[in-house]
Structure formats: C-alpha cells, structure tokens
Symmetry: none
DNA sequence: TATGAATGAGGATTCATTCAT
DNA sequence: GATGAATGAATCCTCATTCAT
C-alpha cells in the first residue's frame, strides 16, 4: 500500500486540489502542529482516508501546497516584475513600486509566511523546499541583472543580497508597525541599499 | 499543587541548571516538538518527576533556558561591545570587528538560534520573550548612539535597522556558505550599510 | 478536534454499547478511580482510541451509562408500577409487592448503586444527574398521588419521603443482612411508614 | 523501614495530631482524591517525609483521623444524649431536641460527612470503620432501650431502625432545603416514626 | 475509488512514597 | 528525629495512519 496516486481524472484532480487548499489554509491559519488531518479532510469535504491516496503523509500536504503556492507566486507575481524591466535606466523609476508591491503582497497575502519560515527552520524537508524556491528566485534576479547589462562580478552575491533585503524588509514591516516605528523611513533605506547594489544610487526617484 | 521551587541550595541549583542545559541543548538540536520531557530528564541525569519541581511545564524549561542564555549574551557579549565605543570617530575602526564578533558568536554558539526564531514565530510566549530581548538591545543601541552624539531624529528607527542588519547578516552567514557565495563581499556590504546609517561612510577602514 | 460521534449504523451502536457496558461494569466493580480507560477499552474489545470517538472523556462514559441504565430503570421498572395503581383502595394490596420488587431489583441488579451514590457525593456532574433522576421520580409519585385523589397539601414532601423511604430500605437491606438482623421486621416497618403517609394505615394487608 | 512510630513524647504527639487535623480538614474540604500528602504536610507545618513515620500511608491518615473524630463524636456528643434518658416517659419530651441536635450537628459540623459516606462506599477499609462505628452506636441505643425497660424482642432491629432514621433525616435535611421542601414537616414525620418504634406515639410533644 | 471507523503508540504531568543528608 | 529532594509508575487523551467494507 502507500502508493500515491497522481490523479489524471478531472474529479480526482479537483479533490486533490481541495485537500491542498484546505490544508494550506488551515496550516497557515492555525499552525502545522495545531491542525490535524481529520480537520483538513473535513474542510476539504472529503473523507479522512482519501487524503492518503493523494499524499504520502501530513507533511506532504504542506509541501505540495507550498509548491503550488510558490509556483504561482514566482511565475505570476515575482518574475513578471523582473521581466518588465528592459533597461538599467528604468530601475530608479520602477524599483520603488516593485518593492512596495512585495511588502504589500507579504502583508496582505503572505503574512502567514511566518508559519512557513518557522517550519523551514524546524523541518528539513520544508527547509529544502524553501531553499529551492530561494535559489530559483535568486537565479532569476541574477539573469535579469545580466540581461540588463550588469557585469558578472559577484552577481550571485548581489542577487542574493537584493532578495534578502526585500524579504527582510517584508518581515520587518510587521515588526516595525508593531513597535510604532516609521516604516517609510526604513523602507526608504532598504530601497537605497538595493539601489546601491545596483549602482544607481543618487539617481533614485522619490515616490 | 505544582508549586515551583526556586532552589537556593547549591545542589538544587546545580540540578536545576543541568535540566536547563540538557533541555536547551536537546531542544535546539532536535527541535522542541521532537524532544520529550523524559529525554530531557534522562539527559540531565535526573528523574522525570523532578523536572516539575523546578519548572512549570515543558515550555518553561525553554523559556528559562532562553532567559539565562540571552541574559548572558546581552550583558556579557553584546552590551560590552557598545560600552567600548567612546566617540563617533572610533566607529570606522571598531565596527568591523564588532560585527565580525557577532557573526562568529552566532556561528559558533548561536547557530541554533534558528530553532528559537522558529519557536518565536509559532509560540506567543517565546515571541514575547524574543521581543523583550530585541527591545532591550535596540534601546541600548539607541542610548549608545545618543551618548556618542547622534541627533535624535529617527534614532529608534536607525537602532532597529542596525540591529536587524547585524542579525540578518548572522542568519545569512549560514545560508551564504551553504550556497558557496562569497561571504566577505556580503559582510562588507552590510558593514557599509550600517556605516551609512551611522553617517560614517567613506571613512571606513579596511581590515 | 474531539467531535463526538453519535453513531447511527448498527455496528457503531453496538460498539458504543459495548464500551458503555464494559465501562459501567468495571466502574461499578472496581470503582471509578480504580478503572482506567485502557481497561475499559480492553474489556469492550476495542482499541483505546475509539473510546474518544463516542465519549467526550472518561466521565462521559459513566454519565452516559447511568443515563441509559436509569432511563430503563425509570420507564420500564418504576413508573410502570405506579401506573398500575388506579385507586387509593388498591394501595394496601399492591404496595407490599411494589416495595418488595424495589428491594429485589436493588439487590439483584442495583447493588452497585453504592458506587454511584458515592460518585454523586464526590462529583458535581454525577450529583446533578442523580438529582435529575430523583426529581423526575418524585414528580411521578406526586402525580400518581394526585391522580389517586390525594389532597395537594404537602404532596411534594410526601412524595419525597416515600421515595426516600423506599431507597433507604433498599440500601439498608444489604446492611441488615450483613448484620444478621431480621429484614422482614424492618421491611414491615418501612411499609407501614409509607402506608401512614398515604393515610391507609390500619388497612394494611399481610403478605 | 516502614515502621510506624506510636509517638510517646509530647512533641511527637503534637506533630502527629497536627497532621491528623490538617489531613482530616483538607480531605473533608477538598475530597480525598483531590488532596495530596504534600498539601497535608504543608498545612500541618511539617515536612512531607515525616508523615510516613506516623502513618502507614495516605489512607491511614484518614482512617486515624476518622477514628479520633468519631470517638469524640460518639462519647462526647451522642452517647451522652442517651445517658440523659432515665425513663421511658421522658422520651416524648426529650426526643425532639435530641433529634434536632443531631440534624444541627450534621449540618454545622458534619456536613462534610458526605465525603466520608462516599469513601465508605468506595473503600473497604473506610467502610469497615464506618460499620464499626455504626455497630457501636446501635449497641448503645440497644443498651439504652433495655435499660429503659423495653422488651428484648427485635431490639437490635429497632435500634438499627432508629439510628438509620436519624441518619437519613440528617442526610435528607440538606437535600430537602435544596429542593425547597418543608423540612419541619419531614422532621416531624421522622420523629413520629421513631416514637412509633419506641411505642410512645400519641404521647408526642410538640416543640 | 471512497469512506470513516479503528488502531495504538506516544507524551506531559501528578503524586504517593522513599531516602540521602 | 526531621527534612524535602528525588523517584518513577501510572494515566488520560490525541492523532497520524491503516483497513474493512
């Protein structure tokens, strides 16, 4: 037993997706350790047994849900931002809104990413997945930089730094508001740092 | 009825500390949810029952261990660094080694901080403790800045940014090596960003 | 999240009843505090986990078993006795056998009621249930008295006294035999006391 | 080990009595199963270890406390009532106040007897002790009856019935008030029943 | 395929009792 | 004698996973 079915039929795919959505939603809302498979099955409108036909175990639900979620995130929301950039010169004008978009996306749709960050730190499988996601994103940033004519020196490091700066800003955005600090001031600094890495400091655009 | 003993006698303190150390070590190594109280007791060389004389519950072990750990960290390792600074002019010369010290301390003694970060994201009590720790540290940075003659404008934000930059650098240091990136390059950038916030860019010292 | 299943299917009902019976039996035999859930499950021939699908917790087993037991007791054994009475005049002829029936029922099927009485004294939920049972029984006695034409003066008190006399006689029946006393003598006295309350003393029937 | 010390020295006796009093008080207040030995020791102002020098185990505290308590109860409060009776003729005049005294004693000082009744039903040792107490009390009633000139026919049964009537009245007194019934009415009936057994009905005294 | 009943290992916590000091 | 720290068995309940239907 334990053979995982990769569903082909329409109804099966639909069922699998319902489990995925319900599982992801519940895990992000209530936490991985506070969500049990029976709840997920119930929320998905399926029986508890069927879960194990589509997923290896509880963690597999999370991993596959993350995959789907991040796949959507990367292709439909992040990469498209970079593809819009066609020349170095546009950066000062476009970067502020890109960065702002990231922060908003984080706050309004990915606030629950905390749970994932936590799980990534606690669980090797989740960590591996998050690394894979970060690597792909960094690679796209790197490729964009090369496409825009940046030299190849330390490009990997620069891509990494940019991506981490954006992420840390997102994480901090929650904290900063909690501490009643001036988020715009901090946002502006992160923006300048990225601009600095992209060698377009002094050119920045106020928005 | 579950009255927690605050041990005064030497042997009791010793036993309590053994539980604390064993608990902290195991939780950081194996994860909070993967460590059970029986293991902690065994590792500490005590019976399982005695744990509940010194600690309210399992989480209390973690919280008290964190308290001890961070108290030591703050007073003996972090704050002393700031106290050594007596004038703005010293910053370019001293900051690199301070930052490097942080990273090393993180890598050699606090690498497991990941687990704590994770728990802080998952558990409200741990989160509260971590916030308290961050607030105190940021306050000391802020006070140091004022003592060194920095204006009060956006000092809170600057202190927060400096501390987060240092922390994110520490976190990234693990990642960066894992990805075979040039850590020195990234370290240098973080250093410059902090210098920039402290208005001593251009003065930096190579080391 | 611990949702209790109200079983509809035959096999489920059967299993739930097995747990109920095994739990009731063991609790009455060995005492509530000396019976653990694992034993109950084992005696019922089920796994320990399934118990919590049908019952909220250990006490719920007891409470539900009592409910079933007393429901049967009241409707099928006690109330039917009162319904048979159609006029005051019948009482002297019928009361002796009714009372005797109670005592026998107690001795042969409800001797374990001691355990329940004890639990009722120790536990608020059990106490509440026992009160509910007593109230309903007293109410039926009261209604019967009114139906038979007794005045309404102190009817509630009289119903209570009759019921307590019957119960105390049942309890005493065990003790009395243990002490080698003449139970018939005591039985006769209790009977007379009830007759007295029902104003039919002097009319009594020897049996 | 495990040798129980029968203390002779004044300080030891005092310590033993403190444990006895504290244990009895706590057990009656909070229930046997909800009171632990550490609490008893603390309330008695002694160490938890010393308890086991004076008492075999936890139950032994209860049993010895009951012994002391009932010894006092019987000799100083109950038997003295019977000794005051010097002739049959006094009964109608004195019985009401004796009975009333019992009920009050129960309500004001022995209300907690519920806990003991419960334990007697649950535990064989406690049951045995309660039986011993009842037997002695019934014997004294019996002896009093003989002394007052009652014939010996069914005297044991009569003594038992009188004692149980008094006890049941005490127990019911709590219930009856809870149910908003007229206690005086019920009290009067119990009194009459006892009078009846003592062949002095019709002679009763209103009070 | 699908169901959901059933399994049973696992874990935090309590507490009567013992024992080193 | 006295202390109170230490022991460790015992127990209720949860839940990921399996399996009979």
């Amino acid at each position: 037993m334990g053979i995982i079915k990769e569903p082909k039929q329409e109804r099966s795919i639909e069922k699998r997706n319902k489990i995925l959505e319900a599982g992801y939603k519940l895990i992000l809302e209530k936490g991985y350790y506070n969500t049990n498979t029976a709840e997920i099955a119930k929320a998905a409108g399926v029986s508890s047994g069927i879960v194990y036909r589509y997923f290896k175990d509880k963690k597999d639900i999370l991993l596959q849900a993350m995959q789907a979620h991040f796949e959507d995130l990367m292709y439909n929301r992040i990469f498209v931002q970079f593809e819009n950039l066609t020349s170095k010169e546009e950066i000062p004008a476009l970067l502020p809104s890109i960065l702002q978009y990231f922060v908003e996306m984080h706050n309004y749709g990915l606030k629950e990413i905390n749970e994932l960050t936590a799980l990534a730190l606690l669980d090797d499988d989740v960590q591996e997945f998050m690394e894979y996601f970060r690597n792909r994103t960094c690679t796209v940033i790197e490729e964009t930089m090369i496409r825009l004519g940046y030299g190849e020196e330390h490009t990997k490091e620069k891509a990494f730094m940019i991506w981490q700066l954006a992420n840390h800003l997102c994480d901090d955005s929650v904290l900063v508001r909690h501490l009643n600090l001036d988020f715009d001031f901090i946002f502006q600094h992160s923006l300048e740092q990225i601009m600095d890495i992209l060698e377009c400091k002094g050119l920045e655009h106020t928005f």
